[in-house]
Symmetry: C2
Subunit: 224 residues, 2 copies
């Protein structure tokens, strides 16, 4: 019978960062992780030693970082808790999708399997979070959805907005102000070749021009 070693919140945040930068499976350069977390390289470096010691990451000097199977599973389960929380906050507590990330960043570390089990039941085992990101299952398995960006679409294509790439409050408020939310149907009318901006028509006939930066952050799926 093994003892279940609990990781600190900080360790969990490092694991999650690596997961998000690698989809769990690729490698990532230390610098990118340190920037993602907002810590300096020596902090990253000593944490990698600890996590390597615990066999949650594999890392040899001057080489990129990768999660081990064990590390990947732990990270996926933290992300599961994060996304379940976001869904719960939106669906059961009346939060807007732009308000939930910071709170979920904290609640994901709550030590209580039952708490997240209850959330999951209440929500009916949701498969996506409020931003369209997939929720890993209770074993840490993720159904990878590889939706294309709106910016990669062609003219006249009819699309449905299924996820956003970026959950920053500013960006989501920008979308709110324009009544752009998940599930929205749209058609690409025109693509400006010199700046990559797109004119799109929404289901309710509204027409808007979206900058390339915005189009890069909207994930879509073709319809009809």
């Amino acid at each position: 019978m093994y003892f279940y070693r609990v990781n600190s919140n900080t360790e969990e945040n490092y694991l999650k960062a690596i997961y998000l930068l690698t989809d769990g499976i690729r490698e990532v350069n230390p610098k990118d992780v340190s920037e993602h977390l907002g810590v300096k390289m020596p902090s990253l470096n000593s944490m990698m030693k600890r996590l390597a010691e615990k066999e949650l990451v594999s890392h040899t000097s001057y080489k990129p970082i990768k999660l081990t199977d064990k590390g990947r599973k732990i990270a996926a389960l933290i992300i599961r808790k994060h996304r379940l929380t976001e869904m719960f906050l939106v669906e059961r507590m009346g939060f807007g999708w732009e308000e939930v990330h910071e709170i979920a960043e904290q609640i994901e570390h709550i030590k209580s399997p039952l708490f997240f089990q209850k959330m999951n039941e209440i929500l009916g085992s949701p498969k996506q979070d409020p931003h369209g990101s997939p929720i890993p299952d209770a074993n840490g398995e993720v159904a990878e959805m590889n939706y294309p960006k709106l910016s990669e679409s062609k003219e006249n294509q009819k699309l449905r907005l299924v996820a956003v790439n970026n959950s920053s409050e500013d960006f989501l408020k920008f979308l709110n102000a324009r009544d752009i939310s998940l599930g929205l149907e749209l058609k690409v009318l025109d693509i400006e070749s010199f700046d990559g901006s797109m004119s799109v028509e929404f289901a309710d006939q509204r027409t808007q021009t979206l900058s390339q930066i915005v189009c890069d952050r909207l994930l879509v799926t073709p319809i009809k």
Copy 2:
């Protein structure tokens, strides 16, 4: 314009412990606080220095400890978050009253005023937690309810169970097993003078004998 200094989870736990041992206003001996928190005296001692430095407690060497007004308010607001959380877990997430304390112990430290505001709204500004303890208001003011213990009641008195003194999982499971929950009406039939145990009759005619230890933990109010 003042900057709002955030306290660490640990600092919050110390403040809360002192509050619970003093009702916010009395003094308490360092030893009692250290035992309540499960830390050794030197840990308590150095934390008292920090909190005194921050003007949240007043403490001079070899004297008992007291919260300052500032410290009392902060502590009451943490207790508010704790009890709101317990209520939310029971009322909106289907937890039993015996399951919520440990989770609330963690969630009380979540940094998000909006999160607790939403909880409060959803619950309709509850005045008590699932164990009958009063929930401080948003200014940290508490309506002190001084319910007597069942053990202090006289024979033939009709009573309603309004709170429990102790929220340990074991005790609450003991009550669950006997279908004893808040609101239950009961009558004291008989008091054993040599061990302080009581025979009580519940509203549904069931009759039980409760040990003094149990009767000490049940808070009641007279009816009719």
